[in-house]
């Protein structure tokens, strides 16, 4: 089985690079083919990279609080570009201020993200979910 392509990056004008570097190493170790766009990535850069690499998932990070503004419309644009089969995950400190995670999740799912994660998520769980989601999709599209 050839490794699945995923795209990784921190959206908007967000400079938080530490988690991003860890995510890159982590997913690579788990056998994914990671395209890491680093920090300060625009919606267009995410989508173009996904198209170019034929990525199965886009992992958007936002730590600095502007996640809500920065992510607006990304799922729609993703569909428009024909990336219907590409999973859209988002994680980090997604909104300004300490907020119950359920609220945050609802907001970002409402915006069209497939999965929403808090900053303290166990990454092992994330890969598990990712693999399941990829399988489901594989089933659907094959």
């Amino acid at each position: 089985m050839k490794p699945e392509n995923i795209v990784l990056g921190v959206i908007g004008y967000d400079c938080h690079s530490v988690g991003n570097k860890i995510l890159e190493v982590f997913f690579a170790e788990k056998g994914f083919n990671v395209t890491n766009l680093g920090v300060m990535v625009s919606q267009e850069e995410f989508l173009n990279a996904a198209l170019e690499t034929d990525a199965r998932a886009i992992m958007v990070s936002s730590l600095y609080g502007h996640g809500e503004i920065d992510c607006e419309g990304l799922p729609q644009k993703s569909k428009e570009k024909g990336l219907d089969d590409t999973l859209l995950y988002v994680g980090g400190n997604l909104v300004v201020g300490k907020t119950p995670f359920a609220e945050v999740e609802k907001k970002f799912k409402g915006m069209g993200f497939d999965r929403v994660f808090s900053a303290d998520v166990d990454l092992e769980k994330v890969v598990e979910i990712l693999r399941q989601d990829l399988e489901k999709f594989a089933g659907k599209t094959s």
Binding site: G12, Y13, C15, M40, A119, D120
Partner: protein, 482 residues
Amino acid sequence: MVDTARLTFKQFKSIRRQVLQAWPTGAGLTLEDGLAAQKSIPTEKNFAQAMKNAGEQGRVLLQPRAGVALVEEHIKLLQFLEEQGEADLLPTTIDAYTRQNRYQEAEKGIVRSREAKTSLLNGFPAVNHGVEACRQVVDRVNSPIQVRHGTPDARLLAEITLAGGFTSFEGGGISYNIPYAKKFPLKDSVDHWKYVDRLVGWYEEQGVSINREPFGPLTGTLVPPFIAITIAILEGILALRQGVRSLTLGYGQGGNLIQDIAAMKALKELAHEYFAMENFSDYELSSVFHQWMGGFPEDEAKAFSVISWGSAVAALAKAEKVIVKTPHEAMGIPTKEANAQGLRATRQMINMLEDQVFPASRELDMEIDVIKKEVKCLMDKVYELGLGDIESGLLAAFEIGALDVPFAPALCNHGKILPMRDNDGFIRVFNKGNLPLCSDILDFHREKLELRAKAEGRSVGFQMVTDDIYAISKGKLTGRPK
């Protein structure tokens, strides 16, 4: 003596014309108007004066971070932090769009915040609000205010906020690029900060002292003291060259008591040494200690403990200022209540320790010694590469990785160096990248790391780095295997 590296007034004025055009609030701003505003500010609200007094009285001043999208809310926030938080010094933390000069996006954030009746920005967009708004802020609080941000090109921000009556400005050409930007050329940010420092220097020449504070903690994540100190000294020299006189050098808590106190001592001693070498004597130097700048525990009780430990070390290290975190740190921008809680916890600790002394010891002396040697290795290289000039030297040093900040986002940073804790929790160098550390220092680090590897029954490797990054947020200093 005027430094040859100093911008001439002509150069400055010509850049200034351009700078003011970047956003409508800059139009028509005159230096004289700013000066008049500054001169009308009472001494108690002058940041430089407050830092000087703290040094003379041996006090540790408390400063929070805080900024919201709208002016009235921002004022209320600062007033709350003075009254309920017992803050000595106030901040105005700037939002992340403004930091990247994205005033258009900042405007959108202001509008949406008004609609949402809550701040959707992670700071105060001072450029968009303009000079008059800043003056209102200054007017309605009792303490000096500093602009805290992370802006590679902060020229317009400085023009507006200083004309607006703020009396301290954080940042520097290195420290506000490497940890805060991605594609910003280092030469450009250094040039832009020359402008900012020159502006501050101009105010100084007119008799108004404005405090300047390079951003010590950099990425806030396992930065070895010698790297932070070297960069602080370099930015200090760059600032002094443009006529800055009130200088506060910063350091972010590493977590090990001895190493942190050693770093704070070494920072000041080395700064004086290198400033003297560069022929500066007419300046006020103070230091600021940042409570833990890396990932925090989510649990508020645990966060209080991290805050308290930072406060204790700030007091024992005799810093002039401590920058305070909040129990919400891991979760999001703090409410004003959480911010005041962080301040009050800090106040209690600072006060309990104000008369206490961390005694001299062999261990402390040794660590000071190590740091001084390490800094010398880097500074020597900078001078060598710049043929005696630190400005071109530091640019070349970053180019080849002789200066390197761990985990930084900037592409102009090598990003090869990897830090790691030793068995006693001191931050050491695991992968030196191209850092010009001499071999006995490298051997020393390696030895220390091997002791840890042995204690943990695993070999020195990247997993340890990852474990160390998570450690404090998971309740430990050093990331050990379970």
